[in-house]
Every structure is written in structure tokens, then in C-alpha cells.
Symmetry: C2
Subunit: 410 residues, 2 copies
């Protein structure tokens, strides 16, 4: 079988996706895999043979330390979706020919739901054709919506950014002695994991956010307006966290109620935006209050400067575990996290068959949401707290965090 | 004369306005001023006698360490503008009666242009009435637009946040192999200091932002579109920094070209927003490119978690210098920064007569802007680099930065 490894990154960025890349690379080197290639822009770049020799790219002693602190995909990413092999075999033939040419025995793909679909299709095809290349998926998504894993690398850092930022916004928004509502729009199409993390702003030194609205719960604009009115009787300045994906009873996204257009990406996902702005204008019409919409936008997925130390460690471990699995002969698997029972947080890696993982979304359990009071319940807090814990501070130069410069194809 | 001191905060928040409060408080204690009061919500709260005894509020040993890491106004703020004493003397009589009742000899006000107007009016009134209370202003504004000072406390931290964030956004926005334009909207009504700080994202490990648009330069939408087209021929993914205050040749704000309404605050300032969204829709109509608008919004003024260590030190020093000046008998003055000549950065505090400071805006010198190429020139870089230097990391608890909890009125 092939003696080299190849690794790619796919889908949206996270603050720690490069820690998984570092984990894959380091474990490969440790296990004596002679050459580790990086795909530029995932499978799309692989099809164009745009590859990086990672031993060259990470040659300097400090490179790995910088890489794990560098947000977004070091290798570049893609949203390329493989066709069904039954319908279009040519692309598979081309891909496997390239993999053979580079003597690839191990294929690692770091990504979310759509990337696991790639691992599934490639490993199924390999099995069908009798290829011994091993395909292992490494989970990554700030959305935390992958099935069968306790959580996904990337979520903890985004949650930590949201907690710290919301705490600062609560400070910022409550300084004037007047009625104001700040609505913070947070990513999450169908799963409210990120928005729920706004609950972490509450602490003995911070009153926290006043309301949290998740896509798991039908959004009732009338009840929302009444609750804001009720809360403002005691607390004139409110900060409210809403998911971009909240929907009204008839299934429409709240942002669809406004005139802002929706975009659709190449996977058919609606690209949402304008939820907070719509709610601000709704409140402005109905209540005498100042309003401000804040969209965390892409900031929340690339804020490596306040990454979770736990998240970085686990992202690295996930990459490392993928290599271990491939060397044991596993293929068509995704690395997952299993949380040990008990008060003290411990998390171990495990392997899951890739079938049934791809395209299945995990949402916030309804019993963790106090929907009536727009709050998160304690089981969620116990779940999320360890994931944002610990810090790995940036390495600064002249006041700005250093990153590892993007490598060039060989 | 009165033996106590009083200190207030006014105007919009910064990440280091509380470091100046800590500087005032610490210097007062050092010089044996028996009691230091804090005004809740500035002069507005003073008129309602909502005061905090700061010795009680900062009683725990770690309180000052937390205070200097706490963003936004610890004491609360206001946008209250004093009437002309000639037109409405009653409010002055009431204010001075309150100051006498609390045996105030020293009055410190931390704020921006509008707050210096308060110091000017109160010190003028005191002189007219023969009051010996001393009024000293401590500058604060992320906008960096105060006259007669090399820079203002708050600017360095906001600039550092912008530099770090833009560098992360450049990473985030360039991972796909496709044409995209990310437009980042940054605060600054008439002065482009904050937007110019986006130039700091460029470094040996980052290509930086592709274009910078400041309010000091007339914005030409046609030239803008052409430049984006030209740049995309070589670089498909661009990140562009624009000031919220950019205007077209006829004087209208760019955001006024869209349908988004403008708000006006109580000082008559237009409250801007939607510039990046407007430019994205303009590009979307004219060029085949994906676009995304990111508004840094209030995040940029309260991001204490990545504050500049230099900024915190200087904000503290400014508060401390105000106390020194008052004890020397000065009144009607503002603390300013004077940069020593030479390569190595050194900055000292000085005092400036408050007349001629208030309501005068300092903008980015035109010779520091390469308007044709939408770039900042080296003199600006040399000016701004030391201001974002050094770090003072947050004190974390369970993964979230700690702040000092807001005090309650006595």
C-alpha cells in the first residue's frame, strides 16, 4: 500500500482547524510516514494536484506553535461536493489516480458535515474498487452539530469568543441610564449551540444576557416583544442573543420577514442574515426604546486570539487519533469525542463509522432550554463550561498576534 | 477649599477608560485626598446625587487589577450636555451646591470632545463665581480625534483589536478559491484613525487588507468599483476596510445612498451604519463576486480582552497626571500626551488649556494617506505601531475574562 499521507481541510473555518492539521502532521512524523502532503483547497485542489509538502512548510522549529494559533484553514478550503459515484465515476477515477501517483496510503479530511460526506463517498468507492487507501475524517465545526460526538473541535473556541464578547457587550450596552436593547446575532442555522453559549457571559461579576433565542424553539415575535417590555420595567438596558436561524411558526426564518434577500450556497443551504436588524426594527416600531443590532458574523469563527486551550488540545488530539486509526487499518471512520462520566471533565477520542454521521444534524436538547424564560438550563451550562476552559495566548509581534504564513503548492 | 475629589466618565466606552479611573483613584489615595467619589452616569447622575464611595468600591486587594481590565465605563456614562451658563444658570447653581455639600475640591472628568466641553463650562463658571474647585479633563476616545494630544487613551486598544481582527478576517476570507470581497465597516465619523489601523494587519505573515477608505478623502464609488475589479485580477479574495463616515463628492455619507435610515443622537451627531452593506450591494450589482459585509460595531470599543498594554499604562498615567495637576492648583485643563522625538517611543503627559480643545476634531493628515492606492503611508504606521504594543492579558475564571462588578450608589 501507499506509504505517504495526505490531509485536507474543507468547509467553513474555525479557530482551531489548524490544530487538527498539526495533530495529523505531528502524528504522521512520529509514526515514520515518509511524506505528508497538504491539499490546497481540499478535494477541489487535489483534483488540480495543488499540493503542499508539509515537512517543508513546517520546517522551522516554531512553525507548529504558530500553526496551532493560526485561525482558518491553513491549506485553504472548498465547498466542493463529490457527485454520487454511480452517476459520475470519472471524478473518482481521476482522484484515485492522483492518490496513487503520490503513493498515498492515508487520507485525512478535516471538516464538518459536508466533509464527512466526502470521506463516506471516497471510502465506499475505495472498498468497491479494492483500493487499500484508508480514509479518516476529523471533525471540525463551530456549529457543534455533528452527530455521535460529544462536541466538535472549533465549538469551544467560538463559544469562548461569544462568552467573552457578550460579557463585554453587556458592559458596553448598560452604561447609559436609558432604555436600550442590543440584539446580538450569532451563527447557527438549525442548531443553537453557539447562541446558547451567550449564557456563559453571566457570572458573579456580570448580569449576563437578558434573553436567548435558539432555532430549536419556534420564535413568537409577539411574545418576544412582550418579554422585552416586561424586562425593561426593571432593567432598562438589555442585551439579547439570537440565532440567525430562528423561525416563526409557519417555518419562515425571522430574517425572511424583512426585505433582506436570502442567498443560497452550493450545498443548497440558505445563507442567513439580518435577523437582529429585523428584530430591532420590530422593537423600534412597538416599544419606546433605543435599539442596536450587532452581528458577530465571521468574527466568531476565526477569533484565534481568544481560543479555548481545551479546544486546541482536543483538536490536536483528534488529528493525532485519526493517524493512529489509519495506521491500525481503519477506514471510513470519523474521530469522535466521548466524555467520561463524573464531575471532572475528561474527554477521549473514539472512532465512528462514517455512515450515519454525514448529513445528520445534532441540535440542542429541548430539555436544556428554558424556552418560556428565554434562558439556558444548568445541564447545558455543565456541558459547555469545560469546553471553553484554559487559554493559549497568541504569540505577539509588535502588538499583533503572529500566524503561520500560508504555504505555496509544490 | 474642599478636601474631597469626584470623578466621572462620559461619552462612549473604551477598553481602557477604567484604567484612567484607576489612575485618578490611586493618585488621590497616594496624595492623601480623604474621600474620592464616583459619579454614576457622569454629570447627569451627579445632578441626581447618585455617587459611589470609591474606597469602598475598590476595597479588595485585586479590585484595581480587575478594574483596569474591565471595559466600558465602570461608573456608567451619559451624553448630557451642559447648557450655556448665560442661558440657564440654575443647573450650575445646583451642581455647585452638590459639590460643596460633598466638600469637593477636585473634579475629574474622563471623556471625549463633549466631556471636555463640560470641563470648559464648569471651570469657566467656577472662575466667574470665585469657586476654588479645580476641574481637570482626562481624554478618552477610541476615535483619537481630540486636538492638542498626540493620541487619546482608548485608541491604541481599539486599533489593536482592529489589527488582530482584520488579520483573522483576512485569513477567514481567503480560504476559498473564488472571487469574494469582504467589506469591514469601522467606526469613525469624520476621522479615519480607527479604519487606518486596519493597515496593521499587514505583516510578514499576512497580506493585509487590500484597500482602506477613510472619511478624510472624498469617496468615489466608480473608482472604488474599478479598483476592486483591478485587484481581483490578481487576488480573487479581498478584504477592504471602510470607515462608517466616508462621503461622496456632494457631501452625503455613503450609507445615506442606501435606504437605511440615519439616526441622530442628542448631540446632533448622525448615527451611521450600513456603509459596508451598501458597498456590498453596489459590488454585487456591478461585478461577479461574492460579497460579505462585516460591521465591527460596538465590539471595537469594548474589546478589553485584547487591550494594548501601552494604552492601559498611558490611560492610568493620564488619570494620575490629572490629580497631580489639580493638586498643583491647575484648573480648566486637559491632560495631553506629548511624544518625545526619536526612534524609540516615549510619551509624556502635559497639560493644555481646555479652551480650544473641546469641539475641535483632529483628522488623519492627508499626507499620511495614499488616497490613490487606498493605502496608509509609512508615517502613519510609525505613528500607530507603538500605540498597540504590549499586552495585559485578562484574568480568566472558567474560561471567561473577569471584570470588576459595577458598584452601587451610596
Amino acid at each position: 500500500m501507499g506509504s505517504n499521507a495526505i490531509v485536507g481541510q474543507s468547509g467553513g473555518p474555525t479557530a482551531v482547524i489548524n490544530a487538527s492539521l498539526a495533530g495529523v502532521f505531528s502524528a504522521c512524523r512520529e509514526h515514520g510516514i515518509s511524506r505528508v502532503y497538504g491539499m490546497c483547497n481540499g478535494v477541489q485542489g487535489l483534483l488540480q494536484e495543488r499540493l503542499i509538502d508539509l515537512a517543508q512548510a513546517f520546517a522551522a522549529p516554531e512553525d507548529i506553535e504558530l500553526l496551532i494559533r493560526t485561525p482558518s484553514s491553513y491549506l485553504g478550503s472548498c465547498r466542493y461536493k463529490l457527485p454520487d459515484a454511480g452517476k459520475d465515476e470519472a471524478v473518482y477515477e481521476r482522484l484515485f489516480a492522483i492518490l496513487e501517483r503520490y503513493d498515498i496510503g492515508y487520507f485525512f479530511y478535516i471538516g464538518g458535515n459536508d466533509s464527512m460526506d466526502t470521506i463516506l463517498k471516497l471510502s465506499d468507492y475505495a472498498q468497491k474498487k479494492g483500493s487499500d487507501i484508508r480514509f479518516i475524517g476529523v471533525p471540525k465545526t463551530i456549529d457543534n452539530d455533528l452527530a455521535v460526538t460529544d462536541h466538535t473541535p472549533g465549538y469551544g473556541s467560538a463559544a469562548k469568543y461569544i462568552a467573552a464578547t457578550l460579557k463585554e457587550l453587556v458592559r458596553d450596552s448598560t452604561i447609559y441610564d436609558l432604555r436600550s436593547v442590543t440584539i446580538v446575532e450569532i451563527m447557527g442555522r438549525n442548531a443553537g449551540w453557539l447562541t446558547a453559549a451567550a449564557a456563559l457571559a453571566e457570572d458573579e461579576d456580570c448580569e449576563g444576557v437578558a434573553m436567548i433565542c435558539l432555532p430549536e424553539v419556534v420564535f413568537d415575535p409577539e411574545r418576544f416583544v412582550r418579554e422585552v417590555e416586561r424586562l425593561q420595567q426593571h432593567t432598562p438596558s438589555l442585551v439579547i442573543a439570537v440565532s440567525e436561524g430562528i423561525r416563526v411558526a409557519d417555518g419562515r426564518y425571522v430574517c425572511e420577514l424583512s426585505e433582506d434577500a436570502l442567498h443560497v450556497d452550493s450545498f443548497g443551504h440558505k445563507y442567513l442574515g439580518g435577523t437582529a436588524r429585523y428584530l430591532c426594527s420590530l422593537l423600534g416600531e412597538r416599544i419606546n426604546t433605543k435599539t442596536r443590532a450587532v452581528e458577530l458574523s465571521t468574527l466568531q469563527r476565526c477569533a484565534a486570539h481568544i481560543a479555548s486551550g481545551t479546544d486546541i488540545d482536543e483538536a490536536f488530539a483528534a488529528g493525532s487519533a485519526a493517524v493512529g486509526a489509519a495506521l491500525e487499518g481503519k477506514t471510513g471512520m470519523m474521530v469522535a469525542f466521548v466524555r467520561a462520566p463524573g464531575e471532572d471533565y475528561r474527554c477521549e477520542t473514539a472512532l465512528h463509522d462514517i455512515h450515519g454521521i454525514a448529513n445528520a444534524e445534532k441540535t440542542v436538547p429541548l430539555e436544556w432550554i428554558d424556552a418560556e424564560h428565554y434562558r439556558m438550563r444548568e445541564p447545558f451550562m455543565a456541558y459547555v463550561r469545560p469546553l471553553i476552559d484554559k487559554e493559549l495566548f497568541p504569540i505577539f509581534r509588535h502588538g499583533v498576534p503572529r500566524h503561520l504564513r500560508r504555504g505555496q503548492p509544490v
